[in-house]
């Protein structure tokens, strides 16, 4: 745990505007030279319900939530439904304060809005007493009245940020600049500026600074941009030349869908909100078939509806990119909570032997990188490619150097022929193009049979979800079947070879290379694992880590080498049935006795300390249970 860091939590009700406020604050922190990482915790409702955004900022790299936090801005929930303790949801008015106390670190700061949080409620919490015990520093202030005085009640967010800036000793100019840059104008802007300034003044006039916490120092070598995983997926798609998206809203996938819908029309692209997810995936197939770079996506339930069109894309070898944004399941589950429990589903859903590519990016930069790669692979190999991520990566914002995005777009249609090329290509006696050749007459033997597009002269063929001959005619001939099926599967080996030989690895290695203890994780849990590994090494327990993104085709060599290099591996993932561990064993056909699991499925992502604790217990061979709400599932025979 670094001392030189701020973890600021703004808590209120859904609809209290804490998202935009925290976005502005995160930008100010980033501009002042700090690395930032945000985490959003919110309920599945539009108004009310306890929600918070956490911003971690430090002078060093931050890739994950921290352990707990050190600054609470409790706004009170202006949409609270129940002010009674015995109500089903408890007393909602006090929740922004009461629900957040357990994780507040020693020496932490609490600012709360006395305009919404009543004296009596605070007394019931024994706040003073607890503050004393934990060396918390309390700053009660009537933010609501201050906001009302100059503008409207929602502006108490701004007042809260003003208090924050004062208490942390921050320079005010960057805040003023950020507010002026935002969408606010005229009276609204002026009111916010006034509230911000006055809040600042009040702190200096009325409070004694008993706390030690101050804004950390940091400096960036180059300009940074603050983006979420959803931004990165959308931007990777745009830069890959994707100009067609079809979808149906579902949290958390909606973020990607709306970002694309905002930009595509201005870029000569097309966005379609359609009747359901079956249609959405079918539209992606149809658009790609006709020559567009196309995508669709959803979250668990919507993705389930996409199963059959996904299989159609496999069978007709239609390139598409789908994104699946996981949330806690089964069924409607917990719509706004992250989980990594759709892995097996995404790998195998749809009938028949599956032939698809699945990437699970570990952070914002990887989300961009692997989405671009997904389009490249999909269009080159005529195969559906899926980006699987989760509610956590979808909404987390982190800073990325602006120069990272300064590169050429890649709108290439891959293995698609031009009319010129079609003239040379194989046709049958009646003039039909041999779209699905048994042994494609191409320079490389990678299983890909180049395609034509409808409307091209001389490229006529039939695409069908039935097994088919080279020109696409339905056929149940055994020899043809074996040729076609094996060729479709051969593409996966070719893709694995290309990924190994021509691209930088999508797997991330970290920690002490000579360590005998290893941690493997996948997707968005990578950041927390990476930080845990660093801490373990700092504390004298040598550990190495591997964050895996290639789910399919499986990076057999890299993972085998990693497992072979250590005595024991802990597989860390956010689900209850150890899906990725099972996947490793299936793909490698062994290692059952070597793989322990650390699982978390309470709706909240891992914090580094939870991983550190569990890992230490394993290394010490202890029988003790971890104190956190996680579960250690021992290796087979353990």
């Amino acid at each position: 745990m670094s001392d030189n860091e701020l973890i600021w939590r703004i808590a209120g009700g859904s609809g209290d505007g804490i998202d935009s406020t925290s976005q502005t604050f995160a930008k100010v922190l980033m501009r002042s030279g700090l690395d930032v990482f945000t985490h959003r915790h919110y309920p599945s409702r539009i108004r009310g319900g306890h929600t918070y955004v956490e911003i971690r900022a430090a002078g060093h790299e931050v890739q994950s939530r921290g352990d707990g936090y050190n600054f609470l801005l409790a706004l009170g929930d202006s949409f609270a439904r129940n002010p009674q303790e015995d109500a089903y949801y408890g007393n909602e008015e006090i929740k922004p304060l009461s629900e957040n106390l357990d994780e507040l670190r020693e020496g932490g700061i609490i600012v709360y809005d006395t305009g919404l949080i009543s004296e009596e409620d605070v007394e019931d919490l024994n706040l003073e007493e607890r503050a004393e015990e934990n060396d918390w520093h309390l700053f009660p202030m009537d933010l609501r009245s201050l906001a009302r005085e100059h503008g409207r009640e929602v502006m108490r967010n701004t007042a809260g940020v003003g208090v924050t800036a004062a208490l942390l000793g921050m320079d005010l100019d960057p805040f003023v600049e950020a507010m002026e840059d935002s969408k606010m104008t005229g009276d609204v802007l002026q009111a916010n500026l006034d509230i911000f300034q006055e809040a600042n003044d009040i702190v200096h006039e009325e409070f004694e600074f008993t706390h030690d916490l101050r804004i950390p120092e940091g400096e960036h070598e180059e300009e940074q941009a603050l983006l979420s995983g959803s931004n990165a997926i959308a931007y990777g798609s745009i830069d890959a030349g994707c100009r067609f998206i079809a979808g149906y809203p579902m949290t958390p996938w909606t973020d990607v869908f709306t970002i694309m819908s905002q930009h595509l029309p201005e870029m000569g692209g097309i966005s379609e909100q359609v009747e359901d997810e079956i249609a959405a995936a079918a539209l992606a197939v149809g658009a790609s078939h006709a020559g567009a770079k196309a995508m669709s996506g959803s979250s668990g339930g919507g993705f389930a509806l996409m199963s059959e069109p996904l299989g159609l894309a496999e069978m007709t070898e239609t390139p598409i990119v789908l994104v699946e944004s996981m949330r806690a399941g089964p069924s409607t589950g917990m719509p706004t909570k992250p989980e990594q429990a759709d892995l097996e589903f995404v790998l195998y859903t749809s009938q028949g032997d599956s032939s698809r590519v699945v990437f699970a990016p570990g952070n914002v930069e990887e989300a961009y990188e692997q989405t671009r790669l997904a389009f490249h692979i999909a269009y080159e190999y005529q195969i559906p490619t899926i980006i699987i991520y989760d509610q956590k990566l979808s909404g987390e914002n982190t800073n990325v150097p602006v120069s990272f995005f300064d590169r050429e777009p890649e709108p290439d249609l891959g293995s698609t022929l031009t009319e010129e090329e079609l003239k040379e290509a194989a046709h049958d006696a009646s003039g039909k193009f041999e779209r699905f050749q048994h042994e494609p007459d191409t320079d490389v033997d990678n299983g890909v049979s180049p395609r034509s597009l409808p409307g091209q002269s001389g490229g006529r063929y039939l695409a069908t979800g039935n097994e088919h001959t080279p020109t696409g005619h339905i056929s149940e001939d055994p020899d043809n079947r074996v040729f076609q099926l094996e060729r479709r599967l051969q593409k996966l080996d070719s893709i694995r070879a290309e990924l190994d030989e021509e691209h930088e690895s999508n797997q991330t290695f970290f920690g002490d290379e000579s360590a005998d203890y290893g941690i493997i994780t996948w997707g968005s849990s990578q950041g927390a694992v990476k930080e845990a590994v660093e801490r373990l090494n700092d504390a004298g327990s040598p550990v190495k880590g591997l964050g895996v993104s290639d789910m399919m085709p499986f990076p057999e060599d890299e993972i085998t080498a990693f497992i072979e290099s250590v005595d024991e591996v802990m597989v860390v993932e956010m689900n209850a049935t150890a899906q990725f561990r099972g996947h490793i064993q299936k793909e490698l056909g062994r290692y059952g006795e070597k793989l322990t699991s650390l699982l978390k499925y309470n709706g909240n992502p891992f914090e580094p300390a939870e991983i550190v604790e569990s890992c230490e217990l394993r290394i010490e061979d202890s029988d003790e249970e971890p104190t956190a709400q996680v579960h250690i599932e021992p290796a087979a025979g353990d």
């Binding site: 941009a225 990777g236 000569g268 249609l413 409307g455």
Partner: protein, 310 residues
Amino acid sequence: MSAFNAIGEEREIDREEFTADNEPQPTWCPGCGDFGVLKALKQALPEVGRTPDEVLTVTGIGCSGKLNSYLETYGFHTIHGRSLPVARAAKLANDGLEVIAAGGDGDGYGIGGNHFMHTARENHDMTYIVFNNEVFGLTKGQTSPTSPKGHKSKTTPHGNAKSPIRPLSLGLTSGATYIARTAAVNPNQAKEIIAEAIEHDGFAHIDFLTQCPTWNKDARQYVPYVDVQESEDYDFDITDREQAQDMMFEAENALHEGTVLTGRFFVDERPSYQDQKKDLGEMPREPLAERYFDEDAKWERSYDLLDRHT
């Protein structure tokens, strides 16, 4: 320069171009009404000047879905009920294509009913032919959404308790802008209606009565048929929604009483979805698919969107 030179090509078109030189021959049962659709299409397409390489026929699953196996065009034989979303996306990606979707009554009015409703509502510029044989043909004759009340099959051994769907009325309320019914036994009318539907700018829905002698034995060959435009017994304005609705209602009832009323039921000049989307700036004027072949095309980059993030 276009990358799709089959589109808009002006030349003499021989009817035979739409028939493959070699296999496969249609596998439909002798006397099946599906032959009638195939024949009418082969006649209509050259008549409206479309060449095999500029037509994309998208079908569902069923006996009817085999249509594009026997028709020389670009084809996409999709999955059960999903021909419409595939077809309309292809049209959005390249609206130079002549897109024709087709499938059975189960495919289009049952499992794909939601897509039918919405594709009609949005008024996509395409033709949709529903092979209505009032049964599930391919899966051996089960009751379908258009089977008459009381219809007995292996899944409704005591007779069907459900009233049949009203396909024409459904098309109308959903928003289709050309609605007609024809029958396999009426090849001339079928050809003309298909030609009109192709020329129509918007969603053209044809409920095509295709007898299934194998599973619908007691049923009908859809004769004698009456063309509502030609018969003196019927007089209504096909551009008038209310009159069209009444006529459809009557035709749907009459079918189960043994009178086969066919012809055009509704025509509306509402702009197509593609045109509306273009006018709103939500779809490029030049086909999207062309852009990928245009070496001078300028591709926007996310790098230029970063202002909002810095």
